[in-house]
Amino acid sequence: MTATMTYREALKLSMRDAMVSDPGCLIYGLGVTDFTGIFGTTLGLEKEFGPGRVFDTPLSEDAMTGLAVGAALNGLYPIHIHIRNDFTLLTMNQVVNSIAKYRYMYGGLFQLPLLIRSVVGRSWGQGAQHSQSLQALFAHVPGLTVVMPASAASVLDTYAHAVKKFKGPVISLEHRLLYDYSFNLPDAPPPADPFAPRLARAGRDVTVVAVSSMVIDALHAADYMSREAGIEAEVIDLHCLTARDLGLVLSSVRKTGRLLVADTGWASYGVCAEICRAVAVSDPGALKAPVAEAAPAHAPCPTAKALENSFYPDMGTVVDKCYSLALGPGHGRPLPSEEFKRKLRKEFKGPF
């Protein structure tokens, strides 16, 4: 029987593993030691490892991010956690002006091994300031490694690599919708480079490059299209937005000639724009059709459910766009019903 694990369990396991394997590991942030424990991922750690290494913080994101710099320079491994990605905007001076540049600006005299986790909210009216997926802002800046683990196995291998092997600053965005998904754990060993794109599903007709929770939507869409239309989508989990080697994406596009990019953040200047850039500068002739994108509407996220539904892309968006790519615009094929999609999706309820 295949072993399974939820995303949340993988996070909890990774945090404890980091604390056990590195006596200099710190875990801190707002809510780290409260009874919710960052959606359960840091529960029990303060008790096990003590308040010196696991602690709640004042609402001082700027100083708490700068704290990681001095701590990392002195042999500690800070893990700073934000329960909403939106709050990381309060850390940007430290992240962009100091953390991203510390190694380079001083000519390689220093390294800053550290991890910043943050959670992207979605559903149940998270609204404009509790739902943003700002990976593009971080990935824009040289010096940062930006990851968006899309499965339990990804969390395990990526965080283990960040803590135990990698010597630089890592920014991770975790999607709240992923937390309750249960994933099969592969028998295969972890990828040689955990900071690289991953093949999530092989296919021949259309390439879908997706990040974070959109990988789940893309996989659901791929199964649906295979079943309903015999169209086989190849799904690539971009995973590491700052990966320099996009060979996996390019070879897939060369094979299928058709590309859809599915992001949790806005399309302009984001992952959609970047993947299109990569294809355009490397091999634009590989495309047999214009590229398509599945991304939130170019607006702040609205709160009302009716508006939220039209704001976000979902598996139906992916199916629709892939049909258009593979069969031509105005494909006329039926799309998955709301009822069908609801059964697949794990939305969360409640104010937190």
Binding site: G52, D62, V69, G70, P78, R103, Y106
Partner: protein
């Protein structure tokens, strides 16, 4: 030469040694100003002229293992703390032999071997870095102190108050040294601050001490020593304010007393009791050896190769 560390904080540093170190900084800065019009130094320089004295006093008071985090006006601390002068000039010249191979320039000097762990061009950015170092020292139970050295403008940044709060909450061995020259670029302190620094520190339960005359070499060292010792002994953070004077413009090598935003007499009052100018006899005695060191440093920089273009892509991630 680990200049300036001789006092090692155990015995009070001598006037002569503090004077020598301050003069060394003064003459090096004047050399930078002399070279600057030649365009060999293509980097904004924020000279420490007028602020050398307290840098010498601070550095001489620290123990090996202590760390300093500071600002873009960092030449004085770099040299006083024991940074290599040759590498500094090469860095200003943008040469491969510089501290950071030409990637830092004047504004980001560091000397990790001497405990200077970084200098930022973003006001206040290094305050929490010092606090993080102090967190590590305390967690590892090491008798070390982290010292943040920033200007009076940095106390207006939100992060200053954030750092006062957290360092007090955790009783961290960090000293926030505030170099108060009364100016933030061209903005005067009375137009910027509605608070008294002592009261601000007090609100967070933080010890406060002041050196009213930053030019008093021994006075600054004497006032700083107990502040440092208390933090080292586990009494938590402190704010240490030093009143001083910036002789030149904010950035560059020219004076600006004719620009109308500050009174020439304010600077004149400081200058007429600047020991580096009034104690001419000692300055004359020490100058030749220092000038030799500076000449060697400049020659080293001039001879150092430019960094290869491939360095552009090195050490990014």
């Amino acid at each position: 030469m680990q200049a300036g560390r001789g006092g090692a904080g155990v015995t009070a540093p001598s006037y002569r040694e503090l004077f020598r170190q301050a003069l060394r900084v003064r003459l090096a800065e004047l050399k930078v100003a002399e070279i600057y019009p030649s365009d060999k130094i293509q980097s904004p320089v924020h000279l420490s002229l007028g602020q050398e004295h307290h840098a010498a006093a601070l550095a001489a008071s620290l123990l090996p293992g202590d760390q300093v985090y500071t600002t873009y006006r960092s030449h004085a601390l770099y040299l006083a703390q024991g940074g290599d002068m040759k590498k500094m000039f090469a860095e200003l010249y943008g040469r491969a032999g510089g501290i950071s191979g030409g990637k830092a320039g004047s504004m980001h000097l560091c000397a990790p071997e001497a405990g200077l762990m970084g200098s930022s061009a973003i006001v206040g950015a290094t305050l929490p870095h010092a606090m993080g170092a102090a967190y590590a020292f305390k967690l590892k139970n090491e008798p070390r102190v982290a010292v943040s050295v920033t200007g009076d403008g940095s106390t207006e940044e939100g992060v200053f108050s954030e750092c006062l709060n957290f360092s007090s909450l955790k009783k961290l061995p960090v000293v926030f040294v505030v170099e108060n020259n009364g100016l933030a670029i061209h903005a005067r302190i009375e137009n910027r601050q509605a608070y008294r620094l002592e009261a601000l520190a007090g609100a967070y339960g933080i010890r406060y001490a002041m050196a009213p005359d930053g030019f008093d070499l021994e006075g600054v060292a004497a006032a700083f020593a107990p502040v440092l010792a208390a933090s080292r002994a586990g009494e938590g953070p402190a704010v240490f304010e030093i009143k001083t004077c910036r002789y030149l413009q904010h950035v560059g090598v020219d004076g600006d007393l004719d620009k109308g935003y500050r009174c020439p007499r304010e600077v004149g009052d400081w200058r007429c009791r600047d020991p580096l100018e009034t104690d001419a006899a000692l300055a004359d005695e020490l100058r030749p050896e220092i000038e030799r060191e500076i000449d060697e440093a400049v020659a080293f920089a001039e001879a150092s190769p430019v960094p290869p273009a491939s360095d552009t892509f090195k050490d990014v991630i």
